[in-house]
């Protein structure tokens, strides 16, 4: 299936946007509403849009404008999301709509995440068509990714239901800015969530993300408590969130609240969007971060965005043998059988079939 690329400069008529009622909001007097989907809790008058730019109050009813409106469609290896312990080497039909509920200065997909839906070309791709496309293209997974799936919640939710009818799994790639109630509902219909934890301090979230850390941590805990598979990504940005002490506190928090077995990916930053003034993360910094996290007791720690690095691979924490060999999202070798290390029989956590 050929990728359909985004184009920020292609306008569509606003009449072509969806007008499907949002599922999480409360009506207020005088045609005002309060969105309850994410921690921002936008309070909006008539004709106003939320921070995400893809939800609009029309006469006191709140609508999602992006239901069934995909602005990016691709088939990616699941390792690209990245999920390293979830159906390795699977193809994931990956979709996104416009919009995001934060504004990271280092966003690599800002041309779709930081725009309004009418500012970008999109296709009509309703839930049943997405599920059908995944089946036709032999994708066992649908990924909600690229921008921020929370802002196209209803579309993601209904597509997940359609996918399940065809035994297709659903994975979500998110910043984790979502309120508990919609998150718990979502967890009933998806199979894995990858959370981008941007830093482990509120100052960073305030200055570079325009969001709140605590709700993200709460979301991570809720996902960990569910049956849904969880992985965490942490983009390591030189001088801003790469301090050993911050990584130590983060690792201790994960250990205490989630446990040692959640895969944690420390990814390399590249200058992007509004953060062009910093260099790419030195590999030595990533290796130092890796040492700190493993030193604290995390068992599956990865280095991301460094092609061919040793820590793209999965090692059995018991016998130390390499059990999955990866090179740039490609699986070269798997030494896991029925969820266990082929060498020593140690259980490797994940969803393997």
């Amino acid at each position: 299936m050929a990728p359909i690329l985004m184009d920020i400069y292609a306008f569509c008529d606003t009449a072509n946007l969806s007008q499907v009622e949002a599922r999480y909001y409360e009506k207020r007097p005088d045609r005002e509403i309060e969105c309850t989907l994410c921690p921002r809790m936008c309070k909006l008058g008539d004709k106003e849009r939320g921070y995400c730019g893809v939800r609009e109050n029309v006469g006191g009813t709140y609508y999602t404008l992006v239901y069934g409106k995909a602005c990016a469609v691709n088939i990616d290896p699941i390792e690209k999301k990245p999920f390293f312990h979830f159906l390795p080497s699977s193809s994931a039909l990956s979709i996104a709509s416009a919009g995001c509920n934060v504004n990271c200065k280092f966003c690599q997909n800002w041309e779709i995440s930081q725009v309004r839906p009418e500012q970008i070309r999109h296709i009509d791709f309703p839930p049943e068509s997405v599920a059908q496309a995944a089946e036709t293209n032999r994708c066992p997974v649908i990924a909600y990714t690229y921008s921020e799936p929370v802002v196209f919640y209803e579309y993601m939710y209904d597509t997940s239901l359609e996918a399940r009818k065809k035994n297709i799994r659903n994975v979500v790639v998110t910043g984790g800015h979502i309120n508990p109630e919609p998150l718990l509902e979502l967890l009933k219909v998806v199979d894995a969530v990858k959370v981008d934890l941007k830093a482990f301090n509120q100052k960073f979230y305030t200055e570079y993300v325009r969001g709140e850390l605590q709700p993200v941590l709460e979301a991570i805990k809720l996902i960990a408590q569910s049956k849904v598979w969880l992985e965490i990504v942490y983009l390591v940005i030189p001088t801003l969130n790469d301090g050993a002490e911050e990584i130590r506190r983060l690792s201790q928090w994960i250990l205490k609240e989630i446990g040692p077995e959640v895969p944690v990916h420390f990814s390399r930053f590249h200058p992007m969007y509004l953060m062009q003034n910093l260099p790419p993360t030195p590999v030595s910094t990533l290796e130092q971060v890796h040492r700190v996290a493993t030193g604290e007791g995390l068992r599956y720690v990865y280095i991301g965005n460094v092609a061919g690095h040793k820590y793209e691979n999965t090692f059995c924490p018991n016998c130390k043998n390499r059990v999955i060999k990866r090179t740039i999202y490609q699986i070269q070798q798997i030494e896991i059988e029925k969820g266990k290390c082929k060498f020593c029989g140690n259980k490797i956590p994940g969803v393997w079939a």
Binding site: I8, Y9, F11, D13, T14, A15, D30, R31, E32, K43, G45, D46, K47, E48, R49, G50, Y51, C52, G53, N103, K105, Q114, V115, R116, E118, Q119, R210, Y273, L274, Q276
Partner: protein, 296 residues
């Protein structure tokens, strides 16, 4: 001192809420005369706009027909400019989208001749492809502002705003960027000032006129008839900060008259005005603003 001219029109609006164009024209003439100390609009415009300017009139139409920059006000200004200073094809009345323009009562003119009325989303216009990063702002700007005009008038509706406190001439330029939804945190401060402080806006902006014909003084920016008052007023200034400061004063006066708390008491005073003053964009303190008031 920065000068602000407040022109109140006698019977600007008929009982049917139609604008009296003769009164409106006189209001503009008076406003420009007092603002520039010239005897006629032609000389006033010469003081404000360089010769051969391509003039953009940025209006605010998000509020629909009830509470947007009124079409008659925009067209009256554009016609006055066309009669005395620039050819009509060098004038663009514009906002974000054609849908909003139409909803607010504007008849689009996308043709090459005449005064153009169009939105940024017109095919072949769109946003300039260069991402502008300035202080806390990272935005694409309308190609109308970046490429099609050389001088800009902010002809904004004056309204209460639930987050910014006041929306007037400076915040009107949120409609020139592709992502205004990202800049409403912390009472839109410092964002309103910082969008204005970009070269794309600051270097082209020449004049603020606030449409205070009908003013939403509470629960804005949406229209609520019970908190909207007919003032029949236009506010002129070459200082964008002083103009909005004067607009804020009017809103506070209306609120006080109706027994409503001040914006400060509601924790939403427009602090971006102070930020704008700090950035050197104009005057935000009353004692640095010379207000002239006149009735027409």
């Amino acid at each position: 001192m920065s000068r602000v001219v407040i022109v109140r029109g006698n019977k600007t609006l008929s009982s049917g809420k139609e604008l009296n164009l003769k009164v409106l024209t006189r209001m503009y003439e008076q406003g420009f005369a007092l603002l520039t100390e010239q005897n006629n609009p032609k000389d006033s415009f010469h003081c404000i706009f360089p010769v051969q300017s391509k003039i953009g009139i940025k209006i605010n139409t998000i509020g629909g027909k009830n509470i947007s920059t009124r079409p008659e006000a925009a067209l009256c200004l554009a016609n006055l400019l066309a009669k005395t200073h620039v050819q009509d094809e060098n004038i663009i009345i514009w906002d974000r989208t054609n849908r909003e323009l139409k909803d607010a009562g504007y008849d689009l003119n996308l043709s090459r001749s005449g005064i153009k009325i169009l939105g940024t989303d017109t095919q072949s216009i769109g946003y300039n492809k260069n991402l502008t990063a300035h202080r806390n702002i990272g935005s694409l700007f309308s190609a109308i502002q970046t490429d099609l005009i050389s001088a800009s008038i902010s002809l904004a509706i004056l309204k209460d705003h639930g987050l910014a406190g006041v929306t007037g001439g400076m915040k009107n330029y949120f409609g020139a960027i592709h992502n205004p939804n990202k800049y409403h945190d912390t009472n839109c401060n410092p964002y309103v000032a910082e969008v204005f402080d970009t070269d794309i806006i600051k270097r082209k902006h020449k004049l603020t006129i606030l449409d205070a014909i009908i003013v939403q003084y509470h629960r804005g920016p949406s229209y609520h008839v019970k908190w909207a008052d007919t003032l029949g007023t236009l506010i002129f200034s070459l200082d964008p900060v002083a103009a909005d400061t004067a607009g804020w004063t009017i809103i506070e006066e209306l609120r006080a008259k109706k027994g409503l708390p001040s914006l400060k008491e509601e924790n939403r005073e427009p602090l971006y005005l102070k930020t704008a003053e700090t950035l050197g964009l104009g005057k935000a303190e009353q004692d640095k603003i010379d207000v002239l008031e006149v009735d027409v």
